[in-house]
Symmetry: C2
């Protein structure tokens, strides 16, 4: 009997629960709204009821490997407890793993959403394409998520809180971030930041194209802004250049510290890769001699194939969180889950 897993992608807006096999990918996906207003126990009920339905449908055909759950963080491990998660208001101190395990009477693996997205990208996305099993991924969404994968496994750090590089400081005197600091990467390169910066540019009077867009549609998306930039609007182009510079400073810091073979930029804003990546690469070259020595084609190091540093856009799209949750049980099989520094 071949095996299957169940993955849960818990977001602030949507809840997705899927059955998965390695041979066929996603077998069936249940999509629900995340009923935050009904309270966290209602959301746990929805999760467990969805898992129950998929177990009933697929257990006769496949043997269950395990259940993986990706959640907005910060998530403390091994406890599986949330600490003031900005996208799950009212969930501070909630023992998510314990609640679900009690309700299901089964063990589950809980990870932060950025970690599972990075795992999916490593195992099923650009990591697989390039033949690499270690990477650092930045997910540009409402905030900036970060996950670090070493040798195919999520790197947790001592409390499960490794991978908060969305909050490395880019400009120390920059705008206040929800995390309590100033000038975090998230304040310059998230979808939220791009909208904020665009509105500031529109108000300044120096970006008439953006001002016209904002007048037409005050709720304009980063995608509409990138369409404007692709049509040649200078104000919009400059915003994506600034996104690239901020990302370049952050990624150069990560390269100088970690010297991993692969850095991946994902999330909705990564659609604008062609607009921001030239500035990103210029900044990384300027700020990281490790990158200059190891970038593809530098020919300085002589260690052979895959012995350098690559920066790429994510291959997987919006499914990366769900896919990562589904493959968690497979990667966990070879590790003692949740222990400190499980690299």
């Amino acid at each position: 009997m071949s095996s299957f897993s169940i993955g849960v992608d818990l977001g602030g807006t949507n809840l997705r629960i899927a059955a998965y096999t390695r041979a066929s990918g996603l077998l069936e996906t249940i999509l629900l709204p995340t009923r935050l207003a009904a309270g966290r126990h209602a959301v746990v009920e929805d999760i467990c009821s969805g898992i129950g339905k998929l177990l009933q449908t697929w257990s006769p055909q496949f043997e269950l490997t395990g259940i993986g759950i990706g959640t907005p963080g910060p998530l403390e491990l091994p406890a599986g407890r949330l600490h003031s998660p900005p996208n799950l208001p009212g969930w501070d101190g909630f023992g998510l793993r314990e609640e679900i395990e009690t309700a299901l009477s089964m063990p589950v693996i809980v990870e932060s959403d950025a970690n599972v997205a990075a795992l999916a990208e490593c195992v099923l996305g650009s990591g697989r394409t390039l033949g690499l099993d270690s990477l650092c991924m930045l997910t540009l969404g409402t905030g900036i998520g970060n996950g670090i994968i070493l040798h195919g496994k999520i790197w947790h750090g001592v409390n499960g809180m490794a991978g908060e590089a969305g909050h490395v400081t880019i400009y120390p005197d920059g705008p206040s971030c929800g995390c309590g600091s100033n000038g975090c990467l998230e304040m310059f390169a998230s979808a939220t930041a791009v909208r904020r910066i665009a509105l500031e540019a529109a108000e300044s009077g120096n970006a008439p194209g953006i001002a016209a867009l904002a007048k037409r549609n005050p709720e304009f998306t980063p995608r509409e802004l990138s369409d404007l930039a692709e049509k040649g609007d200078e104000g919009a182009k400059q915003i994506f250049g600034d996104v690239g510079r901020a990302l370049g400073i952050g990624i150069a810091d990560l390269i100088n510290t970690l010297n991993l073979p692969l850095y991946v930029v994902g999330g909705g804003l990564a659609n604008a890769w062609d607009l921001f990546s030239p500035a990103l690469f210029a900044e990384v070259r300027h700020r990281s001699y490790v990158y200059r020595l190891t970038e593809p084609g530098s020919h300085v190091l002589n260690g052979g194939a895959n012995h350098g540093t690559r920066i790429v856009a994510a291959e997987l799209g919006a499914d990366s969180g769900l896919l990562g949750a589904c493959i968690l049980p497979y990667t966990a099989k070879t590790e003692k889950h949740g222990t400190a520094l499980s690299s």
Copy 2:
């Protein structure tokens, strides 16, 4: 027959070669000047001749575990090759490990000096005191060295170039660094930086105490500046406050990314710990919610003892590089040395 090792601490000025046992520590140390002017082959000769003398003296009593060498970097691994090392001018592209192995007809382990200092601090210093086997160390000297130890082993990254956090960006528009970037941590918190900033303050006319010191002794050391600060000189105190703030930004970035249990500040400038650490801790608390959740006494996380984040001054002093080189052969015994990401 119990075992011994030989360690080499190759610096830009001094060369130290020692025999070591785990029971007795340093048995014998040979101290030589590093004859840079005579060329790199002369220095390799000095290294090999010193190793030969120690082998002759100690091999009759002890069995050799191995030979460890700490060198200024950047050092490419597994090749053991130097790339434009700023403290060893003229050594670019030099295959240090191969040269020494050929001359000795024996294998040796070569590591960057910052990595061996971090290893020593982990195994014999604050890591041992606190019962922790993972840390990130910053060594504040002429530049800023950085080493990351995971579970008692040096973390190399894919090219041996992990741990260059001395070159993370603190102020993006800051002064030019020798690495080619601007505003690196090294430009604000190394011994060299402290002297530069102090001279700028003296010239500005706003730091009369420093101006008097610089007039008395134009070659004043950071130690003389910290003496001045300890006597209450406001200008000198402000310089160490700024050092603490820059270090705090850098260490907050490392905590947010790595979530390690221990961050250690070493090197000569760490003597001024009492002067710069208040600003360092204030900045880290401001910039890292991971730290705020995990600092000793926060009581937010419930993972028990050693389940948090500590930032301390190094316990080992100037011997850390030599001790680290000596213990390299012992830690290497359980790992395949020099492979990518040997964490």
